[in-house]
């Protein structure tokens, strides 16, 4: 299965690594522009209200204030902030400023001033009169008759032909069925029907959202943005402001993490308007508090799973019903919900499957893309119910999974039925190392062995969850690359693909180097600048390695052909056929003669000698499959019966991502995702008061794990080869965030016999459930 490579499948040093550790990496905020103004946003203190009047006169009069923007003086253009392909499968329900505010933290007025302090002073001088409306916070209440209508404006719509009924707070709906679920479920020996709830959480990139805009010498608008989607950012900014695309340039420098929250065009419209109005450089940086309250979150979801199985362990029927809470605006509302089904249901072999999904508007913080993208929420419910079904049958929960999980060569009706805003694409599984993942994990966790607790009042337990994700959105997302050759035999690799810390610049350089017979040190990657780099949808949907990787591979192949052509024009290779030539050690070599030509000579010849031209190519790629990576997560916990506290002792996560182009980076993706998942499962949560105000918008009270909270974590890469991927690669970035909720929940059940069906698994929740069990 494994193939031999020179650069690919080796852990070369991250190409921007030394720059970053030397503190040289230049992030959005690390430039000084003379005369730069600052933006501060006045936000709504109410969850639902109409702005009756807004008076900015006093604030405008404050020295140092340049302009103030509100719904009264900024054009109202419906759009979505979701940075997705065009037309977006998210409703156009957002306006740069709105007369109605829909959550605590919604935009009211932007102050542009000399300093942030002046802007803050000015904010206090803005007089706003609100007509407070009744608010609705739970999606179940939101879709009931008589609930307050959140989007009652006439001009909101969804630009693709899908269900959208804002008049009853229904932001998205999907239902599909394969086979006959009801009949198969009724006829099953064992039936389990459970509802799970996964909670609000934030991505917490160490760098909060930031955008700096300025007019260039030709009066074009330049935006330096911490974004995962520079091209969508350019397009949506143009849409909101009326500035033509040709007059906007979006630069993505180094990015301090995104995890989905930067797949959002969140600041650019306001910065663009501010630059237009003032003609000055303008900066808008979110504070950590604003990042929590006013940026994006994971979609909280109720997920109801019904599974019917036979006593022999065969799954007959599966149903997943999702009720997703998108908050005040419908960013990624449809696709996150659909992804619950499309990334979780195909994991088990079953003929009768039904998926039903609703997404509701509420007066809560706005959800968006978050690593895992619905699969996290759905896998929690599914993997807990799968364990419960196995236990009901009397089978070991791992054996039950082994018996039913999808294998290479098999398909699922869900692949075809459920896509992103339209039907999906039929596919059968190519590479699948899930069986090997399970085997490795079982051994590492010593499955079946019950360890004694460290203290008498503690209980130990083990849990499992198996997972799949996808690799890019098939037949929708496109990536491309441009490569040109330089006189010293190096190559510029220009990509719209967005390295936001993931290491994609390195991985894609390795792919180019592998094809071009050189090392990654001779590839100069650059991502991204809409003026210079070709289009790419950006860093989302686990796509960059698989999708852009293939585009890079194709481009490099084109360049290779050109190099062969030049070689043939040059003296030494006159009599050699192109079929005999190959690239190695930055040289053109020939299989039949022992002559070589260096890349440097090739490029110099092409540039200066004869039939001159720039050796360069640009290729694009779309995919027809979205091959899933697979993983099996195993965990051992110890529950303190005196407090309910869950201590994680060991977490095991082997991953099949096809060929890991860079094993250390792939492993790093896994470890980062796992720890984020654990943190989500055990401690991270939003606390709200009865008015919808978030009470803990800071790292003092919203706890993410630190070094001292780490369990023993064992990860590995299971070798498979995906024929449709570049050098056999699939995705790796998202999948491993999905395991912690179900694996830990299953382990808690194993330890103390309680099933916690909503996260996070706080000591209080576990303690109370144990108390309830005793009754």
């Amino acid at each position: 299965m494994s193939k031999k490579f020179k650069v690919v499948k080796t852990s070369v040093e991250k190409v921007d690594g030394y720059s970053l550790v030397a503190g040289r990496g230049v992030f959005v905020d690390d430039i000084d522009l003379p005369g730069m103004l600052q933006i501060k946003m006045l936000t709504s203190p109410h969850a639902h209200a109409v702005i009756k009047s807004i008076n900015i006169k006093k604030a405008e009069a404050l020295e140092g204030v340049h302009t103030i923007m509100t719904h009264e003086n900024v054009p109202r253009i419906p759009h979505t902030t979701a940075g997705q392909g065009f037309p977006e499968p998210s409703p156009y329900d957002t306006y740069t400023f709105r007369r109605k505010v829909r959550f605590v933290g919604d935009r009211v007025a932007a102050v542009v001033a000399e300093t942030e302090e002046i802007a803050e002073e000015a904010m206090k001088l803005i007089e706003v009169e609100y007509d407070v409306l009744p608010a609705v916070f739970d999606p179940k209440d939101a879709i009931k008759e008589g609930a307050p209508i959140i989007h009652d404006e006439e001009d909101c719509y969804i630009p693709i032909p899908v269900a959208y009924e804002p008049e009853r707070n229904l932001c998205a709906h999907v239902d599909v069925e394969a086979g006959d679920f009801d009949k198969a479920y009724a006829e099953s020996d064992v039936q389990v029907d459970r509802e799970y709830y996964s909670h609000y959480a934030q991505h917490c990139p160490m760098e909060p959202h930031i955008c700096i805009g300025y007019p260039d010498e030709n009066d074009r608008l330049v935006l330096r943005v911490s974004t995962q989607v520079p091209f969508h950012s350019r397009r949506i900014t143009a849409q909101c402001t009326g500035i033509p695309i040709r007059k906007i340039r979006v630069i993505k420098p180094r990015i301090g993490g995104g995890f989905g929250t930067k797949q959002e065009v969140l600041l650019e419209d306001v910065v663009a308007f501010a630059v237009m109005r003032t003609g000055r450089p303008v900066r808008w940086a979110l504070t950590r508090k604003e990042e929590f309250i006013s940026s994006r979150t994971r979609h909280p979801q109720y997920v109801n799973i019904k599974i019917g199985a036979n006593k022999d362990g065969k799954i007959n029927a599966m149903e997943m019903k999702v009720l997703s809470n998108t908050g005040a605006y419908g960013s990624h509302a449809l696709t996150v919900m659909s992804n619950c089904g499309s990334k979780v249901l195909p994991l088990y072999r079953c003929k009768n499957i039904r998926f039903w999904g609703d997404t509701a508007y509420t007066n809560m913080p706005v959800a968006g893309a978050y690593r895992g993208y619905g699969a996290t929420q759905a896998a929690f419910a599914m993997e807990c119910v799968i364990s419960e079904v196995a236990q009901k049958i009397g089978m070991d929960t791992v054996e039950f999974r082994k018996m039913n999980h999808i294998k290479s060569g098999e398909g699922s009706p869900i692949f075809e039925k459920l896509g992103e805003g339209k039907e999906g694409v039929p596919q059968t599984i190519g590479s699948c190392g899930l069986a090997e993942c399970i085997e490795w994990g079982e051994k590492e966790i010593e499955w079946g062995k019950k360890n004694p607790p460290s203290e008498p009042h503690k209980r130990r337990g083990k849990g499992v969850a198996i997972l799949m994700q996808g690799s890019s959105v098939p037949e929708i997302d496109m990536g491309s690359a441009f490569i040109k050759m330089n006189e010293d035999g190096s190559f510029n690799l220009l990509m719209g693909a967005t390295d936001l810390g993931t290491g994609s610049d390195t991985v894609l350089s390795q792919i180019a180097a592998e094809v071009l017979g050189t090392t990654e040190k001779f590839i100069i990657p650059y991502s991204s600048d809409t003026d210079f780099t070709p289009f790419d949808v950006g860093a989302y949907a686990s796509s960059t390695t698989y999708l852009t990787g293939s585009a890079v591979l194709k481009t490099a192949e084109k360049v290779k052909e050109q190099i062969f052509g030049v070689a043939q024009n040059m003296g030494p290779f006159k009599d050699c056929s192109v079929d005999e030539m190959y690239l190695e050690d930055a040289q053109v070599k020939c299989k039949t003669c022992d002559k070589t030509i260096s890349f440097s000579d090739i490029c110099n010849f092409a540039m200066y000698a004869k039939d001159q031209f720039q050796i360069a190519a640009c290729e694009s790629h779309i995919t027809h499959k979205s091959p899933p990576p697979f993983t099996a997560h195993f965990v051992e916990v110890e529950v303190d019966t005196m407090t309910g506290k869950v201590d994680l002792l060991k977490y095991v996560a082997p991953v099949d991502c096809g060929t890991p182009i860079n094993p250390i980076l792939a492993d790093g993706q896994t470890q980062g995702a796992v720890v984020n998942g654990i943190s989500f499962a055990l401690t991270e949560e939003y606390f709200f008061n009865e008015k919808g105000v978030m009470l803990n918008p800071d790292f003092n009270n919203y706890k993410i794990l630190s070094t001292v909270d780490m369990p023993e974590l064992k990860t590995t890469l299971i070798d498979t080869y995906e024929e449709t991927g570049p050098f056999g690669a699939k995705s790796v970035s998202e999948i491993s965030i999905n395991g912690a909720l179900p694996a830990i929940a299953n382990a808690i059940y194993d330890a103390v016999g309680v099933r916690i069906n909503n996260g996070p698994f706080t000591p209080e929740k576990v303690y109370m459930a144990m108390k309830e069990l005793k009754k």
């Binding site: 921007d16 030397a22 230049v26 990139p205 760098e207 950590r288 470890q671």
Partner: protein, 153 residues
């Protein structure tokens, strides 16, 4: 007001406001490796060494540092000649987005100054204020232990 600071072993005479925080003064003076992630002393991206101790520079008034010695990550090594810690961070995959790297490297440096041969537990404790959302910490801890070994040999 005037402030004398010894930044990376060079004396700087700076003009500051009495209420300025150290993080802002350092960034204004060109030390952009000192990052901002929370301004509340909770994320660790603004970590610097203040008289050898790793601290959140967002919680320190610059005026309180008169005559102090400050080290930012620029003092460790360069891209061409990295400090063993920096090299280990790259080789062990402890750098992803890199936003937390300057801070975590300085916490590690302070630890190794005091304890050249730390245990894994001591590494974890020394880095407990430097949050990282990308790596899951495993590779960061491995890198620091590897660097300490290399520096001792």
């Amino acid at each position: 007001m005037e402030l004398k600071l010894n930044i990376n072993d060079k004396l700087h005479v700076l003009d500051i406001e009495p209420g300025d925080l150290l993080v802002d003064v350092l960034r204004k003076s060109g030390y952009k490796s000192v990052k901002i992630g929370c301004r509340e002393g909770t994320c660790g991206t603004c970590t610097i060494l203040l008289n050898g101790n790793a601290v959140n520079s967002c919680l320190v008034f610059a005026a309180d540092c008169e005559g102090a010695s400050i080290h930012s990550v620029e003092s460790l090594g360069t891209m061409a000649e990295p400090h063993p810690l920096q090299e280990a961070f790259v080789k062990h995959g402890a750098t992803q987005c890199g936003y937390c790297n300057p801070g975590s490297l300085l916490s590690a440096k302070a630890l190794l100054n005091e304890k050249p041969d730390p245990t894994e537990e001591e590494v974890k404790e020394a880095l407990d204020g430097n949050l990282c959302r990308c790596t899951g910490y495993v590779k960061r801890i491995e890198a620091i232990l590897a660097a300490s070994k290399k520096m001792r040999s």
